[in-house]
């Protein structure tokens, strides 16, 4: 259990709802859910969700901290925003799902090896590095995230796609030697660091 988690448990005892309200992006909306379930039915990957958004909200109210934060449900969010536009209470459900995922990740309670979680991290690291995404490095990183051999397998599996993109000049092998980047990378790094610091100070 990481310090953040320990400290959160200490702070909020078992008032998980308050914890979510104060620490999770748009978490203060959770209490406004009226359990109609329209979000649950609107999710394109719905059947992959162990707990639907509306159910997660109920679990939060019921103080099921462990179950919620270790769930991989919110990692199934494709950001299609169907739930947001249909919610009769106008809850920003997509953001809350993102927020919960991020919070679980930060507390290191999110499922180990959850693919979206891993890729999200790769993606972020990749983009902050230069300020812009390097799709080749990102893809390679993706393939090799589960170790070298698996990476080769993944790469081979996706070879056709890769070559296709290369042929179509939509994947540039040269990117491996640097590729696109922002000029003011230093500024960007300092900026992100600052933002993280502020958030940490505000939301633990």
């Amino acid at each position: 259990m990481n310090d953040l988690n320990r400290q959160a448990i200490a702070n909020y005892k078992n008032d998980f709802l308050r914890e979510v309200e104060e620490r999770v992006e748009d978490g203060d909306w959770v209490r406004m859910c009226m359990q109609c379930g329209v979000c649950a039915g609107s999710c394109p990957l719905g059947n992959a969700w162990e707990h639907t958004p509306q159910k997660l909200f109920m679990m939060i109210r019921a103080g099921k901290r462990e179950e919620v934060l270790s769930s991989d449900s919110m990692w199934m969010c494709t950001s299609c925003y169907n739930c947001i536009v249909r919610c009769p209470r106008k809850l920003p459900i997509t953001h809350i799902m993102h927020g919960l995922a991020h919070y679980a990740h930060k507390l290191n309670m999110a499922p180990k090896g959850q693919p979206t979680r891993d890729i999200a991290k790769l993606f972020w690291d990749n983009l902050v590095k230069t300020g812009r995404v390097n799709e080749l490095k990102f893809s390679l990183a993706m393939y090799f995230k589960d170790g070298f051999m698996q990476g080769i397998r993944n790469a081979l599996a996706m070879q056709a796609v890769g070559m296709g993109l290369v042929k179509a000049k939509r994947l540039n092998p040269m990117e491996i030697l640097g590729g696109h980047k922002c000029k003011d990378q230093g500024g960007i790094h300092r900026m992100i660091a600052k933002a993280r610091a502020i958030e940490a100070h505000k939301k633990g």
């Binding site: 992006e25 999200a120 991290k121 993606f123 995404v133 000049k169 696109h180 922002c182 500024g187 958030e199």
Partner: protein, 299 residues
């Protein structure tokens, strides 16, 4: 006549040699013909996309976009910020609206921006190119510019998610937006009006992490296009384009389908209709060749 000026935010996937490089190619001539001038924002950075949240969290994600807004505000004052990529547009607009709504967030964002020597007032409006076409240019002008109507071409207009939700194009429905079909008809092609996968999610970023689940989505999208007699799919979204085009071979491999459905951008249709060639329309940038469109462009 003087051109309409916009601060342009291409986004990572539109860079040279990136997955949507042919999109940027295809909008050059379209904008030229429609008197739209896109001025690239100097040193723009990634928006964090729809998956940045996992590691990035809230404020870091916001400031990434705040930086682009600030750069536009500073270098291209008075110009609306326009993006061709729904994810970029969405993140930027969301950021702009949230920062303008909550002063504390704006203050925090600026505190971080200071580190990059920038400051955001919040004057910039974040828009999508499609908005520019529909609201500023208008269908009439779009039609006028047509020199090569794309006759007997049956196209499924696939809008996807993020161009459509949560913001969408003003006046359009989240469930059944009509503007894309209208654009298809504007360039003389036939839109499959009964296409029922218009706004189905392609899996987005989860195409990488949850291939099987996303490919099920993609399969529906392509299948319905075939069922309704479409010859190609057209979309305003880079990620949709990539996902729906790229993974067809995978789906064929795994599920024994014989998908070979071209997926192009509306801008490519328009460029061809405006007289553009294969290269100008970025039609050389496809894995599944949009033959029919290429032929018309070739003529």
């Amino acid at each position: 006549m003087s051109k309409r000026q916009y601060a342009f935010y291409p986004g990572c996937s539109s860079q040279k040699g990136a997955s949507a490089s042919n999109f940027v190619t295809s909008i050059q001539m379209m904008c030229e013909k429609l008197g739209v001038q896109l001025n690239e924002i100097p040193d723009w950075n990634c928006c964090g996309a729809s998956i940045g949240y996992g590691e990035g969290g809230e404020l870091p994600r916001l400031v990434l976009n705040a930086r682009n807004l600030a750069l536009a505000e500073q270098h291209l004052p008075g110009q609306d910020m326009v993006s061709g990529c729904p994810a970029c547009w969405l993140s930027t607009r969301e950021t702009a609206e949230r920062l303008n709504k909550f002063d504390d967030l704006m203050a925090e964002a600026n505190e971080a921006l200071k580190e990059a020597g920038l400051n955001l007032k919040g004057s910039v409006k974040a828009r999508h190119i499609v908005e520019v076409l529909i609201e500023d240019v208008g269908f009439a002008e779009m039609r006028q510019a047509v020199v090569k109507p794309l006759q007997d071409l049956k196209i499924a207009g696939y809008v996807g998610c993020q161009t459509n939700r949560p913001f969408g194009i003003t006046g359009e429905s989240f469930e059944n937006p009509l503007y894309l079909d209208k654009m298809i008809e504007t360039v003389g092609a036939e839109a499959v009006s009964s296409y029922d996968q218009k706004v189905t999610c392609c899996g987005g970023a989860l195409a990488f992490s949850e291939p099987d689940k996303s490919q099920k989505q993609i399969r529906d999208i392509v299948e319905s296009a075939y069922d309704h007699g479409a010859e190609m799919i057209v979309t305003p979204c880079q990620l949709c384009q990539a996902n729906v085009e790229v993974y067809q071979s995978e789906i064929n491999k795994k599920q024994g389908t014989q998908f070979n459905m071209p997926v192009v951008y509306y801008s490519q249709l328009m460029t061809v209709a405006y007289g553009g060639g294969v290269k100008q329309a970025g039609l050389d940038g496809h894995i599944i060749q949009p033959k029919k469109l290429q032929d018309i462009a070739g003529k």
